[in-house]
């Protein structure tokens, strides 16, 4: 039985989905040399697309400056945030962007090995990706003396994850690559200094790396024509939920939620979850906000809920996700998420007092402050935003009034 996966949608966009010929970025990189690549990258203003939004130029400079026998480039293809699937599209339809980006990164910081950490759920992509890497080897875009540049050696390996969302966190990912449980480490030290096997390692998201060849080939100036002052370039949004046209969209940073809803043909929309389960849930009154690092920030996940959805059921789904995916290493996250889930279930059973709800929100704030990694720091976001923004539906309406809704 063949897979029922379809990926034939037409893709257009100003940056990532604009024209690119494989190898052009690598050739240009060799012409420019390391210093100029870093300057171009700095000029572009590119920030990480994996969620945290750290300056890519700074990350590369730190590891380029590090003195070490070996260095590594890691492509974070763990894409596990609920509602995110843009990296899937990049890997399946634009592997040349991702891999050229890795080669350029290797050249710039002086790494000879690149590792793609591909989530176990994406194992079906392996034959395609490995075939692609083989072609690159044949065309001397990988291997020794790449494009006849003396001493420019770089190879890419793919390593599979095994079904753990937290392994997308960069230090957990490194633990996993090293053959351990994927439990996040304390930071600092950061991977740029002490990464894979203790060597300087740049961990970048698939989309960040895919932006690189465009920036190097077409220039930082060209790249930053798109977007806003603080969010340069464009962004891939993974849009799912209640709308006519779910899918991956390349839009300018700064696009308003309202505008996006129109583009994807969302009708009677009541709520938009920006940033996946770790993100926040916004009500209609905030649909004029912009999608950008400085306003409604997101790694790209947009989940749309229409009037018929039950916000409490949605919240239960999110909290179950975190209870299952917490690595359990630190108490605020391990115990906190269980308490929050229990709380939502108690609200559903109509067994709560408002002082209990307030205590839970306090607990959420403690988790945001005291958890060891981004999972526990952000898992209360949905809880707090849904209970705050949809309190009329959840606490004020006669519960019979919402019993019949789907979701």
């Amino acid at each position: 039985m063949e897979t029922t996966l379809k990926t034939s949608k037409k893709r257009t966009g100003p940056v990532l989905f604009s024209n690119y010929q494989q190898a052009y970025g690598i050739k240009k990189a060799i012409e420019l040399g390391r210093e100029n690549i870093l300057l171009e990258l700095k000029d572009s203003g590119l920030k990480g697309r994996g969620g945290a939004g750290f300056s890519t130029a700074t990350k590369w400079m730190l590891s380029a400056a590090a003195n070490a026998e070996k260095k590594f480039i890691v492509c974070n293809a763990d894409e596990g945030e609920p509602g995110t699937f843009k990296d899937r599209v990049l890997l399946l339809e634009y592997p040349e962007l991702v891999f050229d980006g890795m080669v350029i990164a290797g050249f710039t910081i002086g790494a000879k090995i690149g590792i793609v950490y591909l989530r176990g759920e994406y194992e079906y992509m392996l034959p395609l990706l490995e075939g692609f890497l083989n072609n690159m080897k044949e065309e001397n875009l990988l291997g020794k003396n790449i494009l006849e540049k003396e001493g420019f050696d770089f190879d890419i390996n793919i390593r599979l994850g095994s079904g753990a969302y937290v392994c997308g966190e960069e230090t957990a990912l490194i633990e996993s690559l090293e053959g351990y449980r994927g439990e996040p480490r304390n930071r600092p030290p950061f991977p740029v200094n002490t990464g894979y096997l203790g060597y300087p390692t740049v961990v970048n998201n698939v989309e960040t790396l895919a932006s690189i060849p465009h920036i190097i080939y077409k220039g930082g100036e060209w790249f930053k024509k798109n977007g806003t002052d603080k969010s340069k370039g464009s962004k891939l949004f993974s849009v799912s939920g209640d709308c006519g046209k779910p899918g991956v969209y390349e839009l300018q940073w700064g696009t308003k939620i309202n505008e996006l809803l129109e583009i994807v043909e969302a009708k009677n929309c009541k709520a938009v979850q920006v940033g996946g389960a770790s993100g926040v849930c916004l009500p209609k009154s905030q649909f004029n906000r912009s999608l950008a690092y400085e306003d409604a920030a997101t790694g790209g996940s947009i989940i749309i809920f229409d009037e018929n959805r039950n916000m409490l059921k949605i919240l239960i789904n999110f909290m179950e996700f975190f209870v299952e995916e917490s690595c359990g290493q630190c108490t605020p996250c391990r115990v906190g998420n269980t308490k929050l889930l229990e709380g939502v279930k108690n609200i559903e059973k109509d067994e709560y007092t408002f002082s209990y709800i307030n205590k839970l929100k306090e607990l959420g704030k403690t988790m945001q402050a005291a958890s060891k990694c981004g999972l526990g720091q952000s898992s209360p976001n949905s809880f707090i935003s849904i209970l705050d923004n949809f309190k009329e539906e959840i606490f004020y309406s006669n519960s019979k009034g919402i019993k019949n809704v789907k979701a």
């Binding site: 599979l160 449980r181 959805r309």
Partner: protein, 157 residues
Amino acid sequence: MLVVEKNNLSYEIERMVKEYGSDRQSLLQILQAVQKKYKHISDFAQQEIARMMNIHPVEVYSVISFYSFLSTEPKGRNIVRLCKTIACDMAGKDAVETAVKRELGISFGETTIDQRVSLEYTNCLGMCDEGPAMLINEKVYTHLNPEMAVNILNEIK
């Protein structure tokens, strides 16, 4: 386990350790390979891996227990993982779930008596625009409805 089976398993693990290397960073790859071939990583396999990699068996167990795709208990020949995260839930995962359970006569977390299928839930598969979605082994199936899901399941051996 029969002695011959043990010998074969040891031999196979030795081959895998040679292929991936006996450094610690190869452990996950070796576990994945054993899981794929034997549908679980038995106590004996854990001990053999530990011995050949020169680490404590508890280390091996601790890694297995962390990853949801690795198991110490035998699974069926095919592992079906239905996505239960939000977008698939909204797209009709419940109906697919019910149909699949009924057809196979088992619940999620169980394996059919003939060892043909294990049913499991999974979190977001990155197919949220094409849900409901499920994986069968490493293949992905999307836009499911109850009838389709059951037909697909009935075709696998």
